[in-house]
């Protein structure tokens, strides 16, 4: 009992496939245009790939090799997007009862089910209202209840909290955490908290290909892709292990601590280090300190009582005092230096 999802869409340069166990929630991560929404559209039956296979609980929903392509309404797959899209002409209760009614459940029973799901998401008091008067957070709660009431075998969530105010996201995330607990679901998100709190597993897409797939906590503490690293707030550089240090892909060498399972010489590796492990100087330090880079500061971003300096590839967290002393502004050149003991080196699977 599981989901198997695979698709190749040449037009969007997407070629990816993964599986989910029943009851598991997977967070699909990646840059805009990486192909996340394309995969969801294939699963929901809104996009037909050149080649693709979607099998849910053993039932093929799409199998281009064998000419199977079920229409969206026969798939049992509900898609929740960042826009709640509540039917404007129906009350909240009738919106939620829409799924059951479409299955042929009598009106009164459908409304009872709708009331049940509305109370599950804490929106029962909105039952009699029209969607027009709801806030973004309320509307999204109702949309969640509506999707659940349709009793989907698979729930797809495409950045469900992206268009909401920051104040309402924690409560809604808590609600989603409750409803996703035992459901087969795929959630597309840009938020590390969503991945951490809602998903059991993380799949990272880059340019339409899966570059990382694993347990959420492992991926976020030991990222192997640039996107996961940025999401987790750590620096990541890729290269080749020589047995002693890392030959970086874009030139230069890096000394760090090899982590289990130990890489062999010639293995592809990634080196990660935290932004607050970076020491910042105005000029490259004299002598031959290991792991120093000349960088151009692109951006300064307040981060609690620290300032995060962003360059094209790396981030460093420094105090406000340091920024003033070094006179750092966007466009200035500086030197980043990291101790080898602060750098973890992982073998790429």
């Amino acid at each position: 009992m599981s989901l198997e999802l695979g698709a190749r869409v040449a037009e969007r340069d997407v070629d990816a496939s993964f599986e989910i166990n029943t009851g598991q929630t997977v967070a699909l991560l990646g840059e805009n245009g990486a192909g996340k929404s394309t995969l969801l559209a294939v699963a929901a039956g809104l996009l037909r790939p050149e080649r693709g296979r979607v099998v849910l609980d053993g039932q093929p929903l799409l199998d281009t090799d064998n000419g199977v392509d079920l229409p969206p309404h026969r798939r049992g797959v509900a898609l929740l997007s960042q826009d709640p899209l509540l039917f404007p002409h129906l009350t909240v209760l009738d919106n939620v009862a829409f799924g059951p009614r479409s299955r042929g459940v009598p009106r009164r029973d459908a409304q009872q089910q709708a009331e049940h799901w509305l109370s599950q998401v804490g929106a029962l008091d909105l039952a009699g209202r029209k969607p027009g008067g709801l806030s973004g957070g309320q509307a999204q709660r109702v949309a969640i209840a509506r999707a659940l009431a349709a009793d989907p075998r698979l729930l797809l969530l495409d950045e469900p909290m992206a268009s909401l105010d920051v104040e309402v996201t924690p409560a809604l995330r808590q609600t989603l955490r409750g409803v996703l607990a035992d459901r087969t679901a795929v959630i597309v998100t840009h938020d590390v908290l969503d991945a951490l709190l809602l998903a059991d597993r993380v799949v990272v897409l880059e340019n339409g290909r899966i570059v990382e797939d694993g347990d959420t906590r492992v991926v976020l503490t030991r990222p192997r892709s640039r996107f996961a690293a940025r999401l987790a707030g750590v620096n990541l550089l890729a290269g080749t292990w020589t047995g002693d240090h890392v030959e970086l892909d874009d030139g230069g060498v890096l000394f760090g601590m090899a982590a289990e399972p130990l890489p062999q010489p010639g293995d592809r590796v990634v080196a990660t280090f935290k932004p607050h492990a970076v020491a910042v100087y105005r000029d490259l330090p004299q002598g031959s300190p290991r792991n120093s880079f000349g960088v151009r500061i692109d951006e300064l971003e307040p981060l609690g009582d620290l300032i995060r300096l962003r360059t094209e590839q790396l981030s460093a967290d420094v105090t406000l005092q340091a920024v003033a002393d070094l006179d750092l502004t966007p466009g200035t050149w500086a030197a980043f230096s990291v101790k080898a003991t602060e750098i973890d080196v992982y073998r790429l699977a």
Partner: protein, 262 residues
């Protein structure tokens, strides 16, 4: 209370706008000044006037129903599907909008008339359409159908398919989606299209007189009656003309789309 201010409308623009408005309204005023009020009641309640008015209302209502039955599916196919030659087909369907109605009437005659394309087949089935009330309805439908199709297709495109996609994801089949989502969402557009069709049918003259003739109580609608009376009894023509204006205004006022809605 503040008032929003229109920015960027040049002052001279009001002059042609006013001229245009006067151009439309003045003839209506002119007709009202010509009405013989003393005999107005008698003029519009004569046997032939009542026949014409009732026939017009009946045939226009039938036309509107026919337009809905044929036009709604047409608009959906045009707005929601793609097929080769679709743009050509759309242009051809809209042809009656620009075609002189007399030409439409002739075309209908050569289709449904005794010597027409379908004439023999209809004769075999003992159906005679030309110069019957049915012919009036067909002539009116021919010219009114594009109005419904155009306004509904526009509404369908504006509404988009996002809600329909959501409904399908909730397990609703195409017919349920159409009945519970598509139709309610485009209802204002559909009503506007129905009003336009009804109004167009009410004013139809050329195609009707060519295809259906002018037989009192059977095919002589209000516009035909007015044209006829203009020669014999100008006072009656003016009174009936005013009646037609009033009916048209009432229809438009009843179904005026609410501008406040998004």
């Amino acid at each position: 209370m503040g008032r929003t201010r229109t920015v960027g409308l040049p002052g001279w623009l009001y002059v042609p706008a006013l001229v245009g408005a006067v151009f439309v309204l003045l003839p209506l005023v002119a007709i009202i000044t010509k009405v013989d009020w003393a005999n107005f009641g008698t003029l519009i309640t004569s046997e032939s006037s009542k026949d014409a008015l009732l026939l017009s209302l009946r045939t226009s209502a039938a036309t509107t129903v026919l337009c809905v039955l044929l036009g709604v599916p047409m608009a959906l196919v045009l707005a929601r599907t793609t097929f080769p030659g679709q743009n050509v087909l759309r242009s051809l369907v809209l042809l009656p909008l620009v075609l002189p109605p007399v030409v439409g009437g002739l075309a209908l005659l050569y289709t449904f008339g005794r010597k027409g394309l379908l004439g023999h087949a209809l004769e075999v089935m003992d159906i005679r359409i030309a110069f019957s009330t049915m012919a009036v309805v067909l002539a009116q439908t021919f010219v009114a159908l594009p109005f419904l199709v155009v306004s509904l297709e526009g509404a369908l495109r504006t509404a988009g398919q996002r809600y329909e996609v959501v409904a399908a994801g909730l397990g609703a089949g195409p017919t349920t989606v159409f009945r519970r989502v598509t139709l309610p969402l485009v209802l204002p557009g559909l009503l506007a299209g129905m009003v336009l069709s009804f109004a167009r049918a009410l004013g139809e003259f050329g195609a009707t007189i060519t295809f259906a003739g002018s037989l009192q109580g059977v095919t002589r609608t209000l516009p035909l009656e007015i044209y006829l009376q203009r020669e014999v009894d100008p006072d009656a023509a003016v009174a009936l003309a005013l009646l037609l204006v009033v009916v048209a205004v009432v229809v438009i006022a009843l179904a005026r789309p609410d501008r406040r809605e998004p």
